[in-house]
């Protein structure tokens, strides 16, 4: 009996071609969109290009040190900047034509910088780097001013020391996982796809209640036990969202080659549980008798979008803000819990955090299922 119900409900779902198409395709298309949008971001930020600079000397002060410094920076070995020595007018033209990032103007051996509008992050990073290089020069000069000109020994020692530009910090890895923060968006996308399983849940309920559909009425009148009917339809309604999420993971990981971090099987397991909670949310909202049928779709769409938004779909930092202001909301928002689970698989070596998240999702599903069952199992209505 159960298999009979499951088989036919699954057939009904698969054959509603356009729905099927969109449920499957929507996350894949959106994932591709993210990939297109973000793919360039990390590579463009990491790429370092030599910064073109114009140097203008306003007076005849001694620039030996400065020129040595600049020579070192623009050498083939370092290639941090490329230099053009010129006059003020031409330098301004080069700046306006965007042929140089900035102008270094030397007055009494002291450099000052001139930039133009920074409408791209790459430019502003270049500007910061230039400023830092000039600050470094000023500071080095200040140190050397403490050295007696005749004390060549110390002079050389300090200059050598400074030019080593030692890095005293050993960065320890906090995690073996993928620390690309763009991953947050992908996690939210996966969470949103799980939440969109709510429509399957809604459609399941509509087919079970006599006051919501003629087919539901027929099922109510049949001699099949109510629980069997509900279970058969429920499991079939969960199958498709689970499948579409697994396909999404495979697509992201193996076709777009995004490093989702963590064990892929556990990621899929997370989406299985996530899909079930999505279906349960739909089941629950659909089963509430006091809500008009027309409003249910609206409520589910709004809830799904809002919960995805609060888990960081559109603005990455929101979840952490909520963690500080109202942490309970993150525990009650299924999308936030799903992203937490995925994040913990990525970042942590232990599974404690992950198991906590999955448990929360499981408990939520059980509660929603139970409440839904209590509302759906009723076969007599006040009015139909």
């Amino acid at each position: 009996m159960f298999l009979h119900l499951y088989k036919y409900r699954l057939k009904t779902i698969i054959r509603s071609k356009v729905d099927f198409f969109w449920v499957l395709l929507f996350p894949l298309l959106l994932g591709t969109c993210f990939y297109t949008a973000f793919h360039n971001l990390t590579t463009s930020l990491e790429e370092f290009k030599t910064i073109p600079v114009a140097i203008v000397c306003e007076d005849n002060s001694d620039l030996t040190f400065f020129k040595e410094y600049v020579k070192a920076l623009s050498s083939d070995e370092n290639n941090i900047i490329s230099v053009t020595y010129t006059n003020a007018g031409e330098a301004q033209t080069l700046l306006s034509d965007k042929k140089v990032t900035g102008i270094i103007t030397l007055k009494k051996s002291i450099p000052s910088l001139t930039f133009q509008d920074s409408d791209s992050s790459n430019k502003s990073i270049s500007q910061s780097i230039l400023k830092e290089l000039m600050d470094s020069y000023l500071q080095s000069m200040d140190i050397l001013s403490n050295v007696d000109v005749k004390d060549t020994g110390n002079m050389i020692a300090v200059i050598n020391h400074l030019s080593n530009n030692a890095d005293y910090i050993i960065e320890r890895k906090l995690t073996n996982g993928n620390t690309d923060y763009m991953l947050d968006y992908y996690y939210s996308l996966i969470a949103m796809t799980c939440m969109f399983g709510c429509y399957s849940g809604l459609s399941c309920v509509n087919g079970l209640k006599a006051d919501l559909s003629a087919q539901g009425m027929r099922k109510c009148l049949s001699s099949t036990k109510r629980l069997t009917l509900i279970l058969g339809d429920f499991f079939a309604s969960c199958t498709f969202p689970i499948l579409s999420n697994i396909i999404l993971i495979i697509y992201l990981k193996y076709i777009l080659k995004i490093n989702l971090g963590g064990n892929v099987l556990l990621i899929m397991a997370t989406t299985v549980v996530g899909s079930i909670i999505g279906v349960c949310v739909g089941l629950f909202v659909g089963a509430i008798p006091t809500i008009k049928p027309g409003a249910k779709n609206g409520i589910l769409t709004s809830l799904s979008l809002l919960s995805s938004f609060l888990s960081g779909l559109m603005v990455a930092g929101i979840k952490y803000k909520i963690e500080k202001v109202l942490p309970i909301l993150n525990k009650l928002n299924p999308a936030a819990v799903i992203t937490d689970a995925l994040y913990s698989l990525n970042i942590y070596d232990t599974y404690h955090q992950y198991i906590t998240c999955i448990s929360i999702l499981a408990v939520m599903s059980v509660i929603l299922c139970t409440l839904s069952y209590l509302m759906i199992r009723r076969e007599s209505y006040a009015s139909i």
Binding site: N40, D119, I143, I170, L174, T301
Partner: protein, 389 residues
């Protein structure tokens, strides 16, 4: 007139959904504006103060100086020194940088044999730009300090001199800075692009869909109202709802942005939003002609809303997207909306507009209107072909 009246009768059933969508999206909007405002707060940004934890196992003059230097420039946070605590605290952004000064660090640093492999240990939050910045500050401090030690100064003097040296900064001038200013109206009118398309499509398209289905059922195609007239009646009725939604969100913007909206720039923003509303309406009209149920509509509307918002720089700034993506996104109306909005955000006053600004604005408005016309026409064509099918 009949069609017009029937439209409102049908819409009555959908008022509940209308109300729910609008409320949820207002909540979304408010949270978004608050969050973005905080992220891009100039005061917060300029100081670049981050939350740092330091574990000083050396307790030497050098380490004390270093710790004091860091505390002057950043916020010190106390946490437990085990990997799990560090990870947990970093995960919820309670701390962004952890520095561990090993025992004997001062000795190693001030000896002539400076070997950085005996250096400090640090944990930094992945992808944090400020964390990278603090690292370069620490390295500068240590390099300068060790230089003074090489020159023979004692710890106190070296510390004093290091701080003095570090305070030296190059003067930097930015000429005619025309930057995209992150103000509340800018944040609001950026996200409103996504909000409007979602609310308008999800509220209006279902009414038109029901209308199309009802008609086909009742075969009122045989009536004497021509298809064109009927579509125009539907469009006119939908326009009233669109205007209501537009007015609602404009009023909300006045609440959020207040005085900044009572300017010429504010008026141009309102115009931009009005034009965008019409584009959203046309889009709703177009997809209502071939979508058969609300589930499909949800997916299509959300996909286009989210995709075009991501690709056109609503959620992630345009400067972060690749050139190819930006070029591709020109085929989406949201691109032209954002073009206008970004241009407007650079100025305080209409009198500051240059020729290219006026051109950008004009193109933006006109191309959006063209999109609206095209989508509406496509909708009419599909509707006609469905009737005869």
């Amino acid at each position: 007139m009949q069609v017009f009246k029937t439209y409102f009768k049908v819409s009555k059933k959908h008022l509940g959904a209308f109300f729910i969508y609008t409320t949820i999206f207002i909540v979304l909007l408010s949270v978004f504006v608050a969050q973005r405002k905080e992220e891009s707060d100039p005061a917060a940004f300029q100081s670049s103060k981050i939350k740092v934890s330091i574990f000083d196992h050396d307790q030497s003059d050098l380490s004390t100086s270093l710790v004091s230097f860091i505390s002057e420039n950043h916020n010190i946070v106390k946490i437990d020194e085990d990997l799990k605590s560090i990870r947990d605290k970093m995960y919820i952004r309670d701390v962004e940088y952890v520095l561990i000064i090993p025992e004997g660090f001062e000795k190693k640093l001030t000896s002539t044999d400076i070997d950085p492999s005996y250096g400090l240990e640090a944990y930094k939050f992945p992808g944090s730009v400020s964390a990278t910045f603090i690292q370069s500050q620490i390295n500068s401090f240590l390099n300068i300090y060790s230089s003074y030690t090489i020159l023979g100064y004692d710890a106190n003097t070296a510390n004093e001199k290091t701080l003095e040296t570090l305070s030296l900064e190059t003067e930097a001038n930015v000429s005619a800075a025309l930057e995209e200013k992150i103000s509340v109206p800018h944040i609001y009118y950026t996200i409103i692009c996504y909000i409007l398309v979602s609310v308008i499509v999800m509220c209006i398209a279902p009414i038109i869909i029901v209308f199309n289905k009802e008609e086909l059922k009742n075969r009122t195609n045989l009536s004497c109202v021509s298809q064109v007239k009927r579509n125009l009646s539907i469009a006119a009725a939908s326009l009233i709802f669109t205007l209501l939604i537009f007015l609602l969100f404009t009023v909300i913007s006045f609440f959020m942005a207040g005085n900044e909206m009572k300017t010429g720039i504010g008026a141009l923003r309102i115009l931009n939003t009005f034009v965008n509303s019409i584009v959203c309406l046309s889009f709703a009209f177009m997809i209502a002609t071939f979508v058969t149920n609300e589930n499909q509509l949800t997916f299509i509307a959300n996909f286009f809303g989210l995709a075009s918002s991501f690709l056109c720089g609503v959620f992630v700034g345009r400067e972060f997207l690749g050139k190819a993506v930006v070029n591709f996104s020109k085929i989406l109306p949201a691109y032209w909306y954002m073009d206008v909005e970004i241009a407007l955000s650079k100025y305080n006053n209409i009198s500051q507009f240059t020729e290219s600004t006026t051109r950008t604005l004009t193109y933006g408005y006109v191309i959006q209107i063209l999109f609206a016309i095209v989508m509406f026409s496509v909708g009419m064509v599909i509707s006609k072909s469905r009737k005869s099918a």
